[in-house]
């Protein structure tokens, strides 16, 4: 985490959604029958030039956190500040500092051109005249949309719409970027390009950036500060690589000459208590080392009897989704 003054600071933030009062049920029906704790005292900070990935399953509290930072929802307790401004009480000042990219492209005005969309947003941000015009062209160039400047949004591909949303978020030179599942509606190639763009802009402009995504391989590619949310609580807050070191165990793939050797190896590793989650497919054995301290050498030592039959051995880094799934499973059983 950055040791500079944080651009985003969230302290003991709590949000409880209450059921609607009886009088309101006459106006609109609500599905909330009892209080729902969306955030339960979360605390974290994001500094300038830092990307913070917010990860968690549905209902973890990601969107609620973003909505509080944007002033669209008020917290039930704790504080959220952006650039020193209180998100609850000084939301107009906060909204001026934040560039927001919602996950859905419906927030764009479909009949308007890219330029018109940005002009509309720029005017609401208080920009005008030549300054606005030059910012629009800069923003479109930054996201590589200059060639489509006069195209109506409805004629753009999903990837181009996402880039236009990013241009809109950047137009007023915000110091904070909040990106809510920015790659949710676009294909993996376009998503990869968009994330690369976001990383370079954040570095260049020294922006504090919060990003959420369901695509964990994207979060992994960001190599960023990560906040893992689960049921409104923070399960982990820190560097993603440190998280791996902390909870990850290597996965071994060993190929043998015969099926029998693979089966025998499984028994040997299991008996030595060095592995778990075994999978044997023909001559190939896959296992996860039982602890972070266990090494490949320990396994090889236990396999002494079948070592001559080993054809190939490979250490595999477990996908982030498996690590997180383990963490969330642990939290279920707690």
């Amino acid at each position: 985490m950055s040791n500079r003054t944080p651009s985003i600071s969230v302290k003991d933030l709590t949000k409880v959604y209450e059921p609607s009062p009886t009088w309101m049920k006459l106006l609109v029906k609500s599905n909330i029958k009892s209080s729902v704790v969306a955030l339960d005292g979360i605390t974290f900070e994001v500094g300038p030039g830092e990307i913070c990935a917010v990860v968690g399953p549905n209902g973890a509290g990601k969107t609620t956190t973003f909505r509080i930072l944007l002033g669209l929802t008020t917290p039930s307790g704790g504080t959220a500040t952006v650039g020193g401004y209180d998100a609850q009480h000084e939301s107009v000042a906060v909204r001026r500092m934040v560039g927001w990219m919602p996950g859905q492209d419906v927030s764009l005005l479909m009949r308007l051109t890219c330029i018109e969309n940005l002009r509309f947003h720029g005017r609401l941000q208080g920009l005008k005249g030549d300054d606005l015009t030059s910012r629009i062209h800069d923003a479109l160039a930054k996201v590589d949309l200059s060639h489509a400047a006069e195209h109506s949004v409805f004629a753009l591909s999903s990837g181009m719409r996402a880039r236009l949303q990013l241009a809109r978020a950047l137009l007023h030179s915000p110091s904070v970027l909040i990106l809510d599942e920015p790659t949710g509606a676009i294909d993996p190639v376009a998503a990869h390009e968009l994330l690369g763009l976001i990383i370079s802009i954040v570095e260049e402009e020294r922006l504090a950036c919060m990003i959420s995504s369901h695509r964990l391989e994207e979060i992994e590619a960001l190599h960023s500060h990560v906040v893992l949310l689960d049921k409104g609580r923070i399960r982990y807050d820190g560097d993603l690589d440190e998280l791996r070191d902390l909870v990850d165990r290597e996965q071994l793939e060993i190929e043998f000459k015969t099926d029998e050797s693979a089966q025998q190896a499984r028994k040997l590793i299991d008996a030595a208590g060095l592995g778990e989650s075994f999978a044997v497919e023909g001559t190939q054995l896959t296992t996860v080392l039982s602890s972070a301290e266990t090494t490949t050498g320990d396994v090889l030592a236990a396999l002494e009897a079948v070592i001559p039959d080993v054809v190939h051995l490979q250490e595999v880094q477990r996908p982030l989704r498996d690590i997180l799934a383990d963490m969330y499973r642990e939290s279920e059983t707690e």
Binding site: K15, Y17, E18, S20, M24, L27, V28, A38, T64, R67, L70, G71, L72, T73, T74, G83, V92, A93, R95, R96, M97, V98, W100, P102, Q104, V106, S107, L108, L109, R111, L112, E116, R119, F120, H121, R123, L124, Q125, G126, K128, H172, S173, P174, S175, E205, R206
Partner: protein, 289 residues
């Protein structure tokens, strides 16, 4: 200091400067909304033309009813002029009444409301900015109706035009205030149409757009005095017709009543709108359907 660091500091200074500048509603913001609505509306030309045609057809209907009614004293002996004025004023007021609620409902349905609320524009300015286009279109329709009436033989007093414009402006403000109340309801209930439809039907009955309020039973006439349409429509007739019929609302009375209505309902409407937005924030339901 490296060039990169210097550039970053310059950018940061620029950001700070803008942050310090006051966040005021400006004509530029109003123009932004106006332009957006203009482009959206003209994207569907056939729909625009047909809906405008729909507003002028009642003028023809009134023309033939005028022939049927003859020289009734209740309408000052000239039903056609009487009705055209009622229709024109109603069209103007309808634009102001439904513009904001309609735009807000569309934004809610499309999912773009939150994008709008995240902009650093004071939320209490939105009702006015988002109402501009529909108010202008309503005024345009009013002018078309009056012009068409003139072509078909309606007679207006030239001396009454400036007072007519004052009445219209006060009426537009009153209907904007009612639109804000409906928007406050929309934020919570997610639907504003029932309120506007009910009010629109009540106004068409009680204000006497195409008939004299005298024709209503006395208890309904009492209710007529509670809605701004009655004052604007009937005072407009008083200033633009030589003989406005038997139900007369003097210009001065209309101005005072509309001023009082505007102060009360506009202040109350803005307060209610702010409260409903705050309640929506608290309940986390600003973007709900």
């Amino acid at each position: 200091m490296s060039v990169e660091t210097q550039e970053t500091e310059v950018k940061e200074r620029g950001r700070r400067k803008r942050r310090r500048s006051p966040n005021r509603p400006t004509p530029s913001i109003a123009v932004a909304f106006l332009r957006m609505d203009f482009i959206e509306e003209f994207s569907y030309p056939m729909s625009l033309v047909l809906s405008e045609l729909g507003t002028v057809l009642p003028v023809l209907v009134s023309y033939f009813i005028g022939d049927l009614v003859g020289e009734s004293a209740a309408v000052g002996g000239d039903y056609f002029t009487f009705a055209v004025l009622g229709l024109a004023v109603s069209a103007v007021l309808q634009g102001a009444l439904s513009g904001f609620g309609g735009n807000l409902q569309r934004a809610l349905n499309r999912g773009s409301l939150e994008t709008l609320l995240v902009e650093p524009v004071p939320w209490t300015f939105l009702p006015f900015a988002m109402n501009l286009w529909h108010t202008m279109m309503g005024a345009f329709e009013g002018v078309i109706i009056l012009g068409m009436g003139l072509l078909l033989g309606a007679e207006y007093l030239a001396s009454g035009w400036w007072r007519f414009i004052v009445l219209l402006l006060l009426g537009i403000l009153a209907c904007t205030a009612l639109g804000i109340v409906s928007a406050a309801i929309l934020i919570i209930s997610k639907r504003s149409k029932p309120f506007l439809t009910l009010y629109g039907m009540a106004a068409s009955l009680l204000a006497g757009a195409v008939f004299s309020v005298d024709q209503l039973p006395s208890w309904l006439q009492t209710l007529s005095w509670a809605i701004p349409h009655t004052y604007v429509i009937n005072a407009s007739r008083a200033v633009l017709m030589e003989d406005p019929g038997t139900f007369i609302v003097p210009f001065n009375l209309a101005v005072i009543a509309l001023l009082v209505f505007n102060v009360v309902v506009l202040t109350g409407g803005l307060w209610l709108f702010s409260r409903s937005l705050e309640y929506g924030r608290k309940m986390g339901m600003l973007s709900g359907y």
